[in-house]
């Protein structure tokens, strides 16, 4: 049994994939055709043998609850392991009160009762494949109070805008400690930054103390706020993630990440053979291509029927692209239907949308068009 309790945290207000996230939280967003964003952090935990997992959801938890189910399809033992979905039931109406601190505090007994000594807290919106036991090993070696994952980036002026950054120093007396000395925000002004993945490992007892302290300071405090404040007081160890990371915190990053990962030489670091990414099956048949299909450089999910032209695009499950339809540089989500004669370029078509009448939906070079869930255009 793992010594780590997994906590999947929700993202702060700053993270918004406009359009798509109006209908569901970031963790439920479709990813690479057949996945949801949350599948990565959840599979990472499951593959790391973490079997007691708390998922905190902001707002409506229906889609996440249905998606994760008992956890069986994420390879979590349904008797020894457990998967709890907590929706933030704060009595405060204003969204500013809906912090991760308040969500964890409301469900404090689930934390206190857990047998695990350590907690690992991570949000969904950073996508990577990683064994959290490696983080635990670094943590134990460093003797730190908290270990946090970060990614060194050389294009921080383009990605991870609004994310936390950290700076660290070698500790004089402890060579295994890469001591975090300050935590700031990436405003996109510099290329080289160490981006915090908001993934923290610490003793459960320390988390309980931090929760208590944060609530005493302010109801608007998030976990990352109290950790930032404790930088001098606590030994915080920065652990660099060597694997590639994608940060999904805006419509643009959502789009660019998808376009980028069509290339299998890039996507294979996220879908490693020894590190399966689990998701919920839809029992769809394989993709069917007919005689009029023209497909180039695209990633296509099961259950879809491709009769038209698809280029540089991601096609979700059970999508229909009719003969004579042209889809370029676009992301088409589950059960969308693109009719004959339609031309799409740089579009994101949400779940169940039907594009029947509009002739050309082509965004300008630096723009993206979004077609809402279940809309008919």
């Amino acid at each position: 049994m793992s010594e780590i309790l997994g906590i999947i945290n929700f993202e702060s207000n700053a993270v918004e994939v406009s359009g798509l996230s109006d209908y569901r939280g970031i963790p439920s967003l479709s990813f690479m055709g057949r996945y949801r964003i949350i599948d990565f952090v959840l599979s990472n935990m499951s593959n790391s043998a973490i079997s007691n997992i708390h998922i905190h959801v902001r707002g409506n938890s229906r889609s996440i609850s249905e998606h994760v189910g008992t956890g069986r399809h994420f390879n979590i033992n349904s008797k020894r392991g457990s998967l709890h979905v907590f929706s933030n039931e704060s009595e405060m109406k204003a969204s500013a009160y809906h912090t991760d601190i308040s969500s964890m505090s409301q469900n404090l007994e689930f934390l206190s009762d857990a047998d695990e000594q350590y907690v690992l807290i991570a949000p969904s919106y950073f996508v990577y494949s990683f064994d959290y036991n490696d983080l635990l090993a670094e943590h134990l070696k460093s003797n730190a109070d908290i270990s946090m994952l970060y990614k060194s980036t050389d294009n921080a002026n383009e990605v991870c805008i609004g994310c936390d950054t950290l700076s660290y120093e070698k500790d004089g007396c402890n060579p295994d400690l890469r001591r975090v000395v300050s935590i700031g925000v990436n405003r996109g002004k510099h290329k080289n930054r160490s981006i915090s993945l908001e993934c923290y490992l610490m003793r459960k007892s320390l988390l309980l103390e931090l929760l208590k302290e944060a609530r005493e300071i302010s109801p608007f405090y998030w976990l990352k706020d109290i950790i930032r404040e404790k930088v001098d007081e606590l030994a915080i160890n920065g652990v660099a993630l060597r694997h590639p990371v994608r940060c999904i915190n805006s419509l643009e990053s959502y789009y660019t990440t998808h376009m980028n990962l069509i290339d299998q030489s890039k996507s294979k670091a996220f879908f490693r053979e020894d590190w399966p990414i689990f998701t919920r099956t839809s029992d769809s048949p394989p993709t069917l291509y007919n005689s009029t299909a023209r497909v180039k450089n695209s990633t296509i999910s099961n259950g879809s029927m491709i009769m038209g032209t698809v280029e540089n695009s991601i096609i979700g499950r059970n999508v229909v692209i009719e003969e004579g339809a042209v889809v370029r540089n676009s992301i088409i989500l589950t059960r969308a239907h693109i009719a004959s004669g339609i031309e799409l370029d740089r579009a994101i078509v949400d779940k169940r949308a039907k594009v029947f009448n509009a002739k050309n939906i082509c965004a300008a070079a630096d723009d993206i068009i979004y077609i809402g869930r279940s809309e008919t255009v």
Binding site: M32, Q264, F278, D283, Y289, T299
Partner: protein, 372 residues
């Protein structure tokens, strides 16, 4: 369906020698079909979709894989509280150990299992046919007729009728005669090997048949004739739709090709009648800019850089640049290296076709079961 109203028993013990190397290590029902399925997914999904919740699977030949495959009953949603998939290979009993000597004997040896479930009716299925069928409709007719047995039949062209077991019926579709592969067929109603029996009556006949020394203990050859001889009420249930026995390399290939032919009548896209299978963790497949694809079915995990025409690709297949795959079926993990040409072949699981190799002809289907 009330849980003990009908229990299904799937006969899945056959080797399927005419599938050659494809059944070297697995029984015929476990053979791959249609890009992501195994043949037995079809009867199991039909059971689940028809509301038949308790299913016994009678295995014998190379049963290790098949036993573990069907035992994971959640794949078909058959893991309900009172239902489940029960794996029933031959077992040692106080009287000794005996293999299943025939289709009927397989049921006779599991009378204790059925008695424990106390079903009103038993549905006998074979584990090697591709079709979609609502067994609850057949059961309704069986109950409406107050029949002792109901046999599903398919209307086949009269000139092909001599290849099948043929049911001769009266005007009410009551079966008056059964002829196995008749030279001069009197009707075109071919038995699909799908039977519903009222359990109490069937048990009597099975126990009587067990004692007969000259019996082959077979439903078609012994049990049905005994019912007819005793003037029991047997009815034909007319099934309309796609049905195929995929017991040979040719018919297995044809069945796969039917999936990409819109006129074949085999539709696995109908969301109201899903075919369920093992849940594979590969990501969606990728078609690169050097690829060309038409009239094909492709499963997750594939990387397509070459040309694919009229073919069915299972998961984790790689077709490299300049390779061409035409009229073919590639089982999981196949690697087709650069410039290789495949025409009308079935390539076995994990087989590598080296660069620039040419395999297959326009004529017979070629089975490739080793790296070349």
């Amino acid at each position: 369906m009330r849980n003990n109203q009908m229990v299904a028993m799937i006969l899945a013990g056959g080797r399927g020698t005419r599938l050659y190397e494809l059944t070297d290590k697995v029984a015929k029902p476990a053979v791959y079909f249609g890009g992501k399925y195994r043949i037995i997914d079809f009867p199991l999904s039909n059971c689940a979709n028809s509301g038949v919740q308790t299913v016994g699977v009678l295995t014998q030949y190379e049963s290790i894989f098949l036993n573990s495959y069907v035992a994971q009953d959640s794949r078909w949603g058959l893991d309900t509280r009172d239902g489940g998939v029960y794996v029933l290979p031959p077992r040692e009993k106080s009287g000794g150990f005996s293999i299943y000597r025939g289709t009927a004997d397989a049921i006779t040896q599991n009378i204790d299992f059925l008695d424990q479930k106390e079903p009103d009716h038993v549905l006998i299925l074979s584990g090697d046919h591709i079709y979609k069928m609502d067994y609850s409709k057949m059961l309704k007719q069986h109950e409406d007729n107050n029949a002792d047995a109901t046999i599903a039949v398919l209307e086949v062209p009269l000139k092909e009728a001599s290849r099948f077991g043929i049911m001769n019926t009266d005007e009410n579709d009551r079966i008056i005669e059964f002829e196995e592969k008749p030279q001069q067929p009197k009707s075109n109603l071919a038995s699909m090997g799908i039977y519903i029996f009222s359990w109490k009556r069937l048990k009597q006949y099975l126990l009587a048949d067990e004692k007969k020394e000259d019996s082959e203990h077979d439903f078609g050859k012994d049990i049905i004739p005994a019912y007819l001889k005793a003037n029991r009420s047997l009815y034909a249930y007319r099934f309309k739709g796609y049905w195929k026995d995929v017991g040979t390399i040719d018919s297995l290939w044809e069945g796969n090709m039917d999936l990409i032919d819109p006129k074949s009548g085999l539709d696995i896209f109908d969301p109201s009648w899903r075919i369920y299978s093992e849940d594979i963790t590969y990501p969606a497949h990728t078609i690169t800019d050097t690829a060309k694809i038409s009239n094909s079915m492709v499963n997750q995990g594939c990387l397509i850089e070459g040309e694919i025409k009229r073919s069915v690709l299972f998961h984790d297949v790689v077709v490299a640049k300049g390779a061409s795959v035409v009229d073919s079926v590639l089982l999981p993990g196949t690697r087709v290296e650069a410039g290789a040409k495949l025409k009308k072949v079935i390539v076995g699981e994990g087989v590598v076709i080296s660069a620039r190799k040419k395999v297959g002809t326009d004529g017979e289907v070629t089975l490739v079961s080793k790296d070349i």
